[in-house]
Structure formats: C-alpha cells, structure tokens
Symmetry: C3
Subunit: 439 residues, 3 copies
C-alpha cells in the first residue's frame, strides 16, 4: 500500500454532520464510534431504548438497512417506508448519525422467484439459490435494473433526510467468492470483455503464452470461463476472469453511486469491503464515493499482523477511512470461534485509532435471536442486557476521545490485488497473501 | 440423557425367549452375547459348524438377514425362502436365538432398475445410485410400498417361527447422512410438512426471523430444500430439514413395525442406530418396538468418553437396550484403522456390562472374503479359524456370566438431538457433540 | 518389483544413436543427461544459443514437441512443420539427440470445439473441458482416430530423421486421474469389457461376492460406472474400473506405438509415466516400446524412500530405463514448494546413477514466462541466465561420466499395481502405497 497524506477529512464537506450541533462534532481526526443495528429484528418500542443506550455509551453513528429489502418492498412496487422513517427518526433524534445501506446484497425471495435468471451460478454449473446472501450474478441486466429501482426509491425517500449522514452501497461486495459467476450471460460478457481488452485473438494468445499445452484459441468465443477440469487452467485465464469479475461488480456499485451522488448530494458514501476480501481492489471501491470502509474481524484473520495490515490498507485508500464493522466479542463463522478475553476489544479499538481510522462501528448492537448470525456477539446479549465488553467499550471510547491520532508512518508497501489473484492461482504456501504468510 | 429406572425388562413379555428352555434364559439383567452372521456369504455346509462354534463360545444370539433382499427375492415376487428356512433352523437348533433383520437398507439392483425414482438425491442434485446401501429416498411412496411388500412376506413366513427371538427393522436408519434427500417428492413433502407445522407463512417467517438477510418467504412453495449456496442458510431452515427428514425415516420404520407387531406378536423388535448417528432420536426409534439398540465401534468415536456416552444414551432410551453390533477387532472404515491390542475387546465387553446393556452382539462372526467390508475383523478370520481375540472373548463371556450389573448411576444429563442438529449448523469447535468436544 | 538383469542396452539396437559419431556415444551403462525443451515458447533466434549451451553443459538429449499439437496443426489438416524441422535441425546439428514427443496429451482447442464428445467426463457427470491437459476420454473412437492422424503425420515427416534418437508417446498417460472417465461410451465399453472378462453375470456376481449388501446384478447392463453414492462401492467394482481404464489407455498407446514401430523402425520409443502414477502398470507401458521412462520429482513424493523406490521400479521394468523429467530446482505444483538447497540436485543425480538409470533429462531447460508451469524452475531462469543449480549440474555430469554404475541389488520386492488399486479403495493409513507409508 502507499500511505497517502490526507489534507482534509472527506466528511467535512458534509456540513450538517461534520459541523452541526448535537453529539456529532466536526473536529478533524477524531475517531467516531458507532454500531450496526437491525431495527427490523426488534419491536419498535425497543428502538428508542436502544438509541438512548447507544448515545449513552458514546456512540455517534449507526448503520441500518443493508439487508432489509424484503421489509422495504414486501411485494413488487409496494414499498413500506413507514418503519424506516420511524427508525431513522428515532435514531437521529437521539443524536445518532444514520448510515443508510442499500439492500442489494439480499434481494428478497419474491424477486428471486420472479426472475430466477438473476441467480449466481457456481463453477460446477449449479445455480446458487436464495436463502443466504449475495446470490446474484454481477452481470445480470435484470438485477442491475432491480438494483437501480430500489436504490432510486430509497434516494427519493431519504436523499435529503437530515438524519442520514452517509450511505453504504451494497454490503461486502465480492464476499463469499460472489464476484465470479459462471452463468451464460457472464460467459458472453467475458467474451466481449476479452475482445475489448486484447483486440485480436492473436494478441491474446501471445499475451497468455497459449503455445504451452496447446491452448491456442481460434477465436474469442472459444475461451470458456474456467470450469473445473483435469488439472490447472492457464494462470492468464484465471487472472482475466478475476479482472472481469471485479469489473462487473464495480460497475454495479457505480450504477448505485450515480443515483446516490445525484439524489443525495450532501451525503458521502462507501461500500464496505469484507476484511480480507480477495475480490475487489479497496482503492478502486473507495474511489467510487471517496470514503474507504472495511470490516475488521481480527479473529477471522491469520493474526495481528494481517489485521493491522488490512486497516492500513483501507486507511491509505481514501482521505477518510472507516471500520464499518468490527467484532465486539466472539464471532460465529470461523472454524473455532475463540473466547474474547477482558481487554481484547479495547486493544482492537486502540489499534484502529493508531492506524488513524476516522470511524469505528461495532458489529452489532444486539445479538440476534434468529437467522444466520444468531451466535455472533453484540454489544448487548440476546436478552438485551449489556454483554461482557460493554463497559470496557464505554471506557475506551472515553479514553480515545482525548487521544490524538499518531502521525501516519512514512513507510510504503507496494500492494496490488492483481498480484494476490496471481498468488491465488498458484499459492506455493497455504494461506499466503501479501499480509500473511504461514511458513 | 435421563437415566430412567426400568422396573421390568421388556423382553420378559416375550414368553418363549425370555423364560423358555434351552440356551436362552430369562434371568433379568444378565447380559447375553451374540454375533452378526451372513449365511448368504458362506456355503451351507459350513453353517452347522459355525453355529456349534458360536454356542461353544458362549453366544446366545445371532442376527441375520438384514442385507439379503436380493437373496430372498432374486426377481420380483419370486421369493426364495429355502436358504433362510435352513439357516434359521440350523442356528436355532444349535441353541441360538435368531434376530431377523428386514432387508430394506439394501434394495436389490433389479428393484432400483425397475424404479429408479426410489433413488436418493444428494444436495447437489445428483442421484445417489445403487452399489452401496441406503440409496433410497425416505419419502418415496414406491419404496414404502416395496418395503411393506418384502416385510409382509417375511412376517408371513417367520412371524411365528420359534427360532426367531427378535426382529430388527431396517439397518442403521439415517446412517451415511441418508435421512436427508433432495428429490422432488421430498421437496413437495417438505412443503406440506412446513405447512402442517407452521400453519401460516407469517408464522413461519416470524419463527425463523426471516427479516434478517431478507429471507421472508411469500408462501410455503418458495421454501426450497437447503441446496448448497453462496454462504450459510438460515439455521431454522436447516433445523426444519433435519426434523422433516427424521419424520420421514421414522414413518418408514413405523410402517414396518406395524406389520411385525401384527404378524409376529411374540417378538420384540428394534432398529439399530449407528453409533454416533446424528440423524434420529434414539428414544424415538427405541419407542417403536420398546427395545433400544445401537452399534458400538469405540475406535470410530473420539474416544472412551464418547463411546461410553453412547452406550448410556441408548441404555436410557428403553427398558431393554442392546448393543446390536460391536467391533471385535480392527475395523475397516475409519481413516486410520488402528490395531486392537490384547485385552481391548475384554475391556469393551466389561464397559458395556457396566453400562447395563442387556445384549451384546459382535460384528461379525467371520471376516468377509468379498464385498465392502472385507477388511473388517470377525471373530473368525477370513480363512475360518479363530481370530486374535477369540479366546479372550470366550473368557470374558464366562467372567461376565457371574457379574451383577452395577446400579444405574443417578446422575442425569440433558440431551436433545435437536440441539445436536443446531450445533451441526454452526459448530464453533470441529467435532463438537454432546458427548465429545475436541478443544 | 523384480530386479531384472539386462544383458544389453536396448538403445544399442539403434545404430546411429547408440554407436554413431558425434556427442552421443554407445558405451553401455553410461548415464546420459538431457533436458526438456519447448522451442515453441521462445524466439527462433534463441534456439541455437540454447542448443550450444546445452551441449556445453554436457547434455546429450533433448525432448521436444509433446505439447505442441496446436503449433504443428494450427487448423485441421493444415500442418506447419517448418518450425519443427528447424528446431530438430538446430538441436541435432549442435550435437544433441532429439526425443520427439507425440502431442496427444494436449489436443488443440479447435479440435475440442469440433468434437466436444472427446471430452473426459468426471465421476460427478460433469465434462472436464479443455484449458489444461489430458482432457480426453480414453475410450473415444474419435479421439483415437485423431491421435492416429497426427502421429501418422509426424512419423511420415520424422520417421527417418537422423536428428531424432527416440520417440515419446503421449505424455504422462493416466496422470491427473485421467484414465478413468464416466462418459456414455466408457459405460458401454465397460459393459463389454466386463462381459469379456467374466463371461456370465453369475460368474461376476460370484467373483464379486455380490450377496453382501444385495448388489447381485441381473445382467451386465446393470453394472454402472462407480459414480459417487451414499457410501462405498464394492471394491471389486472399483478394481474392475481401474483395470478397464488402464486397458483403454494402454490400447491408445499401442495404437500410436504401431505407427511409430512401422514408420520409425530405427527409433526406440517410450511413454513417460508420471512419478507416483497410480493408473498404469509401468512394466506394461515399458513393454510397448521396450524402453521404460518416468518422471522424477522427489519433492513431490513422501520422501527419499519413495523417490528411490520409483526409480528402482522403472529401472526394473525394461532393459533400458530413463528419467524423462527430473526436477532441477523448486517445483510449482505441490502444496508447499520448498527451496532446493545447494548440493541437492547433485545428490538426486547421483541417486539416479546409483539406481542404474540410462538417461536423465532435466525438466526444463528454461523457466517459462507464461502458461501453467511458469513458476517451475528451469536450468535457466526466466530471463535466460543460468539458475542456481546450473554449475552444480555441470560439475556433477562430469563427475558421473567417470563413474561406473553399481551392480543392481539382488533383493527382490513383489509389487503389483492391482494391489495398489485395492489399497486405494480402502486405504487404512492415509498416503499408504507400496513405497511409502505414513504411520
């Protein structure tokens, strides 16, 4: 990564949020804390209690909405904004700045039933059905239209909402290896992408060294997406597929960005990248909205070095960088979900401060009582009472309010996601990345 | 598990076997020994030699028949009972009580060719063809009819056979993850099952917390069996699928039980559960015939704690509990099939006695010379001579004949297979079960 | 393996190469060194430089052509021999003996597009597309015809070429588990193969012990290729499938051998077996051309014992035995590709000499700058300068020129690939082979 100097916090452009009254202050380089919240999972009469507790804890930001398409639009074109109006109002009137997520990571079941061609297809040719998330083909024109439709509706409703301080586009684009899809439209788009990139098939054959193993292609149509076969595909084909897939995803994010930039001009926006995501270039994603953001689940990495590296990588990607999700205790999705001892969360908060992150949102406010992440810790436990790190978090927020971020280090590291894609095609050492090497 | 008190051995109800003359005695709480035998794998003139040797060794029970459908019915409706008549006669006249297995775990090739729709379908949509065992869909109406047909024929033939002391229904129902099937009839039956369980789709969406990740279902038809997808399915969907699958398998066992109860009223019956089976609730299966039975392959478990736990679990499931298959030496199906040293088999026998098991059958009498389990130890080696533990077994049977089972411990452990299914959907620690935790 | 005595080096039959003038000498039992070379990957004006350097290093043999079908025949029936004429001329006039490979391991893309039915099918029913190598069904009649066509054309062109000293048929037949294919023609051929082998279905059922698990087959048509199913298939079915698959591959090699024997009578020929190949019997393959050859990648084995065993196995398979490919440094295809320290390559060369190998070809002359094996070491690095072991190799070639091979050891080991196939179907200890046992 290159450590960039950032003369001004991008958020300062956004007058109300950055300089306004209330609990959100405009001082440059002060880290703000926040949390991810799912009002759709809790009774409405709980919302105000939660909001007050968040503010009491020292939180200033709350991200909502990113998985709630089915709640916003229970059936086609029949939008239900009432609950979201009330959620934003409740949270912002308590003094919190709302980060509003577009829900395109979880298109609802009714939409998938209506247009099954949206479904992502795995490398073995099998569709990847709804029931989890990111089950969409990044090339699908129909899904592009549907995304534009829901985002346009959201922006029309909340584009000038004073409670909203920033937008998040999609959620963890590329996560779960969802960028690459093997459907027919992707095959066709890949053919066109190759033709645009290489011009002539002779030029591609030359660039890919197709003489070896007789993979010389007679035409662009004969280059098939890399389905599993006898042994390894050409690393050039694999790399081209990664580049193409990233382009398709980025293009989807840009389509949303255009709508938000036009309809919500006072709001910065971002798309949070999964911590350790190997699909998208953080700089390119951060460039869309001018705000870098990432997840940070240190226990999901190979250790502290990789965890810090990821923060630094995103910190360098844009003038303003947020941790959009940070683990607040035990997580649920690793092979062994270890205990998080006393003092650990405070240490993670200080590390993010030391890296110069502008905001730090915990995932999540309260542990869910149903659904896929119900074993994931929240600041509140399932029963709604403070979890084990709650007071530690309060104390550390206070401590960091007085801290001045350290100067950015002057060391520079060269990092290129295309290198990482190449490493992935021939690893040499299991788990090797730029940031972590298991020797 | 709850340790239940069992005022009376269920077998005592069955007059001849429990109280009759000959080698099978009615004394309550004395552990009987036996063995699994495949007369169809050996020449008929060997059977009497084997039977005499079994009795000489101190065995009282012999299980036969559970994989012999093709031998009982070589072509449709053309039954060949002669060999089985002679086998039962030979064994029982030597003084052994025959446990007769219904052969529904291995429908013959001709039946699968005639009705390929019986075939189980894996989660990736591929049929699981014949050639091994348990390759049948638990929902298949055709297979239900065929099962009823063969069991009815067996019960007509042997329902009042004095040589038969108990029946085994099917074999290891659920083993090899065979309870869950992804075929179209299973999809339809699952839809109906969900509707019966939840009544309305709103009730299901509420119970499953479908708001999270926008998995709100518009109707029961839109809930598809959990095929592999981008990332995790809702744990509620996964749990519902396990419950449904167990219901389908249990319903098949009950259909057989009804025929046996009606046609063989003097015989107790059971369905042996694979040791470590995660598909079916042992109490529910034991409840069908009033007799619990399980396999016990200690080297296939995580160690002595899990091995003992499984015995205790089955011991508590019914007034009478049998080890229907117990390893007698090296097994063939684990990743590393370790040597079984001197004294090991005796120790396992004593452990089963200490747990209060009513019967203990070794698997198997003689190591097979062909087929899938040919590397599995028997009491006799492949060449028909006693294997390494033979005399140790004789000695230990003698020793345990004089032993009084210890009192059941008064400790109680809460165990619920639905907990186990939930753990399976999000393990947290590889290999974790109620009975074994690899930390 | 049986250590055979070999009264005469097979190569002596081939007058020019074995006894002729120039750099290739006829002395019996002197190990010759050589290298694998891909002229199609480098500019023509580099060839002479490379050839001179090879000779300067002490190399006498150079293998070329085995992956160059697309270069030899860019479109159907439009052969381009010019480059190959010039490559052979350049190499042989420098004093090197050319080993010419038939390119049937890598049929070109245009051929696969024209005849997709040639494609190999995996056990899950999915075709294994072009893009890597060995993506062909060994049973395919169309592919047999195409193989015969290209080999005939090559033999017509180079059958009496004085620069060619030996032929290699195909490349690593069976490697990447490519011998077994699950396509419809393979199914039909398997049925016929079984009928030829067993005569009657009763005889097969008896030999396979089909009584167990009710796998009694009503007819040969009902025996399906062993697709993945619930649990293990009969080891007899698995073994039959391996035998059948080997027969299909061998038959393809023989079809090529016949053409070479007729059209290039002065040339010995061989088909190199992948080091550690579990698909084909080395003796049977060596028997085709009277010359055994194998790959040797010691770091791809479980260690020195297995590495030496493989040399000895091939050494014993024919009067003359070559290492057709030997690693010259770090390889690219294992999970962890370890550093190759100073002296390691020299040791491997001495080990091969001690085993009595007649020739030893390094893989490869120069590290590729594109394609699947671009991270594989060559004697020259990617930029065309000597790699780290270059001078060590020169020194060791000199040292071994004066060495007399040790007498063949008199110990005999019984080795049978059908045993290995049986072990594969039930391993008992992960990684177990005849030559390596991880305990």
């Amino acid at each position: 990564m290159w450590y960039v100097s950032y003369p001004e916090c991008g958020l300062r452009k956004h007058a109300r949020w950055a300089t306004g009254a209330g609990s959100i202050h405009g001082s440059l380089r002060r880290m703000r804390f926040g949390v991810c919240y799912y009002p759709e999972q809790w009774p409405e009469d709980r919302w105000a209690i939660d909001a007050a507790a968040m503010v009491d804890l020292g939180l200033e930001l709350v991200r909502i909405g990113e998985f709630a398409w089915a709640k916003m639009e229970p059936t086609r074109d029949s939008f239900d904004w009432g609950w979201l109006d009330r959620a934003i109002e409740t949270l912002s009137s308590a003094g919190l700045g709302v980060v509003l997520g577009t829900p395109t990571a979880t298109p609802p079941v009714w939409l998938m039933r209506e247009h099954p061609e949206i479904m992502s297809v795995a490398s073995d040719g099998r569709p990847r059905p709804y029931g989890s998330r990111r089950h969409t083909c990044p090339t699908s024109e129909r899904f592009r239209e549907e995304s534009v439709r829901i985002v346009t509706a959201m922006v029309e409703r909340y584009g000038d909402d004073e409670g909203v301080v920033a937008w998040q586009i999609d959620n963890e684009p590329g996560n779960h290896d969802s960028a690459r899809c093997w459907c027919d439209p992707c095959q066709n788009a890949f053919t066109e992408w190759l033709e645009r990139r290489y011009g002539t098939i002779a030029s591609l054959n030359d660039a890919w060294g197709a003489e070896f193993w007789s993979t010389t292609y007679p035409d662009f149509e004969s280059i098939v997406l890399p389905k599993p076969t006898v042994t390894s595909h050409s690393p050039s084909l694999l790399l081209a597929h990664r580049r193409f897939a990233a382009d398709q995803v980025i293009s989807g994010l840009e389509a949303q960005a255009e709508i938000i930039a036009a309809g919500a001009p006072a709001h910065p926006f971002t798309s949070n990248l999964y911590f350790g995501d190997r699909e998208l270039n953080p700089r390119r994603v951060a460039g869309i909205g001018g705000l870098a953001s990432c997840d940070a689940y240190p226990q999901g990495t190979s250790g502290p070095i990789e965890a810090r590296f990821n923060l630094a990588l995103h910190r360098s990607a844009a003038p303003t960088a947020w941790v959009m999700e940070h683990q607040a205790g035990r997580i649920n999705w690793t092979e062994r979900n270890a205990h998080v001892g006393e003092g650990q969360v405070a240490q993670w908060m200080r590390e993010a401060a030391a890296e110069g992150m502008d905001a730090f949102l915990f995932f999540r406010w309260r542990a869910g009582r149903s659904g896929q992440e119900q074993y994931h810790t929240g600041l509140l436990d399932h029963h709604g009472e403070p979890g084990p790190s709650y007071e530690e978090i309060r104390k550390t927020i206070g401590e960091l309010a007085d801290a001045t971020p350290t100067d950015a280090p002057r060391a520079a590291l060269l990092w290129d996601i295309e290198d990482l894609w190449s490493i992935d095609s021939e690893v040499h050492a299991p788990g090797a990345t730029h940031s972590a090497l298991t020797l």
